[in-house]
């Protein structure tokens, strides 16, 4: 039985008119349902030797401390059955506290911070847990429509155990008044929006040091193999 995995109740559509650049980039033909083979069930494995402790501390990549609100981001990465996904590469990138990316094409004249690069990476531990130390990113303007501002966000890229689980998203902050006006956030169906909002967590917050935010992620996995559920074909 072919059941679409597109999940339109919980995932954004490719075409979303208020987000203008989708118009010339969204596929229009129906996607072809692909039964999972080894090509979809496998995925790259990343050695932890390539990742250092400093990679997950974005406040220690310059000569001094970056400006801004110091912030811990922690969460768990699990599959849809709730199984933790260990050794999953989590890559993050973000603006500095003023809303500027350290990127040659970001020409918004907010100040760069010599002590902040804004990118980090970490492998989840045996419980699927990751943790970053960073500073809170700023909002920034973009060209989508008049007076358009992206709410503060951190970009997340995750691999998971298979080609199917490969995944890119953005993490926002609960209660940010700019979310309402942002078509990138708004393209996500209402019932799924709360899952890309980081929650302030007093338990993660460290006294006289940094605010704590929790952001858990659920990745898709490959379909059960026919031999596992015993009734296909």
């Amino acid at each position: 039985m072919q059941k679409s995995r597109l999940d339109p109740d919980n995932q954004p559509p490719y075409l979303y008119e208020p987000y203008h650049s989708t118009a010339k980039r969204a596929p229009r033909q129906p996607l072809i349902f692909l039964p999972h083979t080894l090509s979809e069930r496998t995925g790259p494995i990343f050695a932890d030797t390539l990742i250092t402790e400093a990679d997950r501390d974005l406040t220690r990549q310059g000569a001094g401390e970056p400006l801004g609100q110091r912030m811990i981001v922690e969460g768990r990465v699990v599959d849809e059955d709730g199984n933790p996904l260990p050794k999953t590469l989590v890559e993050v990138w973000q603006t500095n506290a003023a809303g500027r990316y350290r990127h040659e094409l970001d020409d918004w004249p907010a100040p760069l911070d010599p002590n902040f690069n804004g990118c980090g990476r970490v492998l989840t531990d045996e419980n699927g847990k990751y943790r970053f130390l960073t500073v809170k990113p700023g909002a920034y303007p973009w060209g989508n429509h008049p007076n358009a501002w992206r709410p503060a966000h951190i970009h997340f890229s995750l691999f998971g155990p298979s080609f199917v689980s490969r995944f890119i998203t953005q993490m926002y902050f609960e209660g940010d008044p700019m979310l309402e006006y942002d078509p990138v956030f708004q393209c996500v169906p209402d019932r799924a929006k709360h899952r890309i909002l980081a929650k302030f967590d007093l338990g993660l917050t460290e006294e006289r040091f940094a605010l704590g935010f929790r952001f858990d992620l659920v990745l898709r996995g490959p379909d059960a193999t026919p031999s596992e559920n015993g009734h296909e074909e």
């Binding site: 010339k24 596929p27 996607l31 083979t37 080894l38 090509s39 995925g43 990138w93 799924a192 990745l219």
Partner: protein, 182 residues
Amino acid sequence: MDLHHTANQPIGPFYHFALTPDNDAGIMAGPDAKGERVDLAIRLLDADGKPVTNGMIELWQASAAGIYNDPADPAFHGFGRLATDREGLCLFHTVKPGQVAGLNGKLQAPHINVSVYAPGLTKRVVARIYFADDPANDSDQVLGLAPEDRRQTMLARQTLEAGRWNFDLHLCGPCETVFFDI
């Protein structure tokens, strides 16, 4: 904990410094990797056939022996990742993958799995690149899933330059590439 798949979001235009700081991840096969060398130029195009200059392409493929994460071929990296340039192009250096098992134990034709990300793509698109004129293509079950008149969008074509293959990836428009619901 809420166990629904977290929503996808677009990659945004300013990912390069984090994900593609250089072109190293386009070299998937070191000098000692086994198999037929392939330089694969992928061009990313939009609805008007214009180059997409801020996209990211990821490849995932088996070794020349047809094995993913092949321990017997340590000089080969099955994963590659590049940003598209001002012409919408990126150039991967790899080898032709072998055949891997597919549905019902039948072998699949050599193919490379592709993920595409770009601003304006709210979630990745997934494609497969096959090699034009490979005799195994005719019986490949996944190629067979695509409408016959669109199958040519899944084929890389060999150029006059030895080992160099070209693949145009159309996100939409009259030549839209076949994309998969995985």
